[in-house]
Symmetry: C2
Subunit: 346 residues, 2 copies
């Protein structure tokens, strides 16, 4: 089988524990024997067994990832590969690996995380999205297991290290931008309401309107999935009103693309008839016709910082709870213009 620490010990004429110390580069071993042992390790092609090491040291150097249950969203929305890139970078820089379990239902995912945690497969966990009343969060808190949330936790904000944008303010800014162009009928198309990010952006949108002294029109607020289809469906819903807003704040680029497509099919042009601001600023925002004005939330950094701060927490249990706010920026393109009419009647 594979060459073990014992084989090295035998070949180098030292005790296994000495070899172990050499691997850990313990100062209690003389340079001379270190050299000797290292030489033998190289000769025999020794590689430490992670599993055995994990068992003995009670640490795996692996981070568990919890993805949302909807495979569609994970595999279609560019948000995920980008955070994954950031996570991967952050983990790699500290020599941690990423470990994923998946499940089709909420229950399967929950069970997967439980067995990952209790089974000692990972040293910590990152939740890639923050959900309202997430039982996983309660579980992890209860277990006092290291974890970090990407997004704003629904409750216990002070006890949970998280990496987030100021989505409230971002949405307020974005709405203000539309207001500044002269729009007064502004719709909001958000994601699932059990996602905290949706709630935050909605609140920011409402605040901006209220500050501007404009009424909140319930019918102008639509929720659907963070997918292109979600955007299309949102437009369908608005159509029923027979009166479209002149601008829309869309909580996701992919949704915005759906909105764009649906409007296009209806012969409604952007930005002449309707202005659109969306969120995330992924590649599709730039490629859409017209290119979308979008709030860049620095997705990569969300992942990167999440990995970093989780590792800090793993390596130092006394590490204080942190809240890391990643900056955002409104990237202006050509999906917004001054309104031509007050409202758009069909």
């Amino acid at each position: 089988m594979a060459v073990t620490i014992k084989d090295v010990a035998k070949a180098a004429n030292v005790a296994p524990s000495t070899v172990s110390r050499v691997i850990a580069n313990s100062p209690r071993i003389s340079e001379k024997t270190k050299e000797k042992v290292r030489e033998v390790m190289k000769q025999l092609g020794y590689h430490p067994n992670f599993i055995a090491r994990s068992l003995a040291s009670q640490a795996t150097r692996a981070i568990g990832l919890v993805l949302p249950s909807s495979t569609d969203i994970v595999s279609q929305n560019p948000f995920f590969p980008i955070v994954l890139g950031g996570l991967s970078d952050g983990a790699h820089s500290k020599q941690y690996a990423l470990h994923m379990t998946t499940g089709k239902t909420e229950e399967e995912i929950f069970e997967g995380v439980v067995s990952m945690v209790q089974g000692g497969r990972v040293d910590g966990v990152i939740l890639l999205s923050s959900r309202v009343e997430d039982p996983l969060v309660s579980y992890l808190l209860e277990q006092d297991f290291p974890f970090v949330v990407i997004g704003k936790p629904f409750k216990n904000v002070e006890q949970i290290t998280h990496v987030d944008n100021d989505n409230f303010k971002a949405a307020k800014d974005a709405t203000n931008y539309l207001l500044s162009l002269g729009h007064e009928q502004i719709g909001f198309i958000g994601g699932n309401l059990n996602l905290v990010v949706t709630v935050e952006r909605l609140l920011g949108y409402e605040k901006a309107l209220r500050d501007a002294g404009l009424p909140l029109i319930n019918e102008y607020v639509i929720h659907d999935e963070f997918l292109r289809e979600g955007g299309r469906e949102a437009v369908q819903a608005l159509l029923a009103l027979k009166k479209l807003p002149t601008a829309m704040l869309v909580a996701d680029d992919l949704m915005a693309l759906g909105v764009l497509n649906a409007l296009d099919e209806l012969g409604i042009s952007v930005p002449e008839d309707v202005s659109i601001v969306s969120f995330n600023n992924v590649l599709v925002a730039e490629m859409a016709r017209p290119p979308l004005t979008s709030v860049d939330i620095n997705i990569f950094d969300l992942g990167y910082e999440a990995a970093k701060s989780l590792i800090q927490k793993i390596e130092n249990p006394k590490e204080p709870t942190k809240r890391i706010i990643i900056p955002y920026e409104l990237v202006k393109r050509s999906s917004c213009a001054k309104p031509t009419k007050k409202t758009l009647t069909l």
Copy 2:
């Protein structure tokens, strides 16, 4: 600490080995004691320790993933989240987890895989792309470690289980489609030439032209990265010719998008002036303006089958080498038309 098999044994008044047998549902334990032990496990909230189990059984129930070194491509090209979805589904159905190490350079990745393999962290490995002269393939073959390649292996095809499309034929078909429309000046924009998929598609393209009795024009073949920027750059390169082909076969949707953008900026319209067929049929193909005719290669299935066949190989070492060909389909949209001129002179 966590409750172990010993705690359960003590509480149930049986030996630890009996508990282990109950977990494995061994027929050598009576139903009566099984019930008793299970009851206790539930009461104590027992969860098996994966690490200890892995060490004893020499199996981890984890699959290692090897992503390409370019983080850009992984995080930007929709191919990856989609395969990942398939992999994840396939692994999950057999209760396997996914494990990823990453690296910035080829060497780091190689080292990551070696330590994953030798360190016993995973039971098998999936290579998400097939590269020309990939040292990883040599290494894994040498080690006789279970692995599956997504794509066609560069050599030793008969010894390596792989999941692939018939990219040669797909490219030939796609080219024939353009030929059937009347195009005679057809360019090829492919990815990096050290990717086997690029080579295969290029060969298919060339075969189609040769079969049609058309000359192969070197200047019409360009290679760049599987990114939008790659597409833009390819167009730049073609521009230098002062004579554009009337149709282009682009090996990736994202690249095609770049091509589209670049052409748009030049005032060249698709499909009136130039027809485009691309590969992958990811969401962007449908959303591009104009929507792209693209070869759907069923990315999800590539991942799903790869995971399935790797697991088969892991669980039965005598499993024969397999070659799994996932079907493709040319999805016609509006990026192709009959040529208006023989060549496009700038």
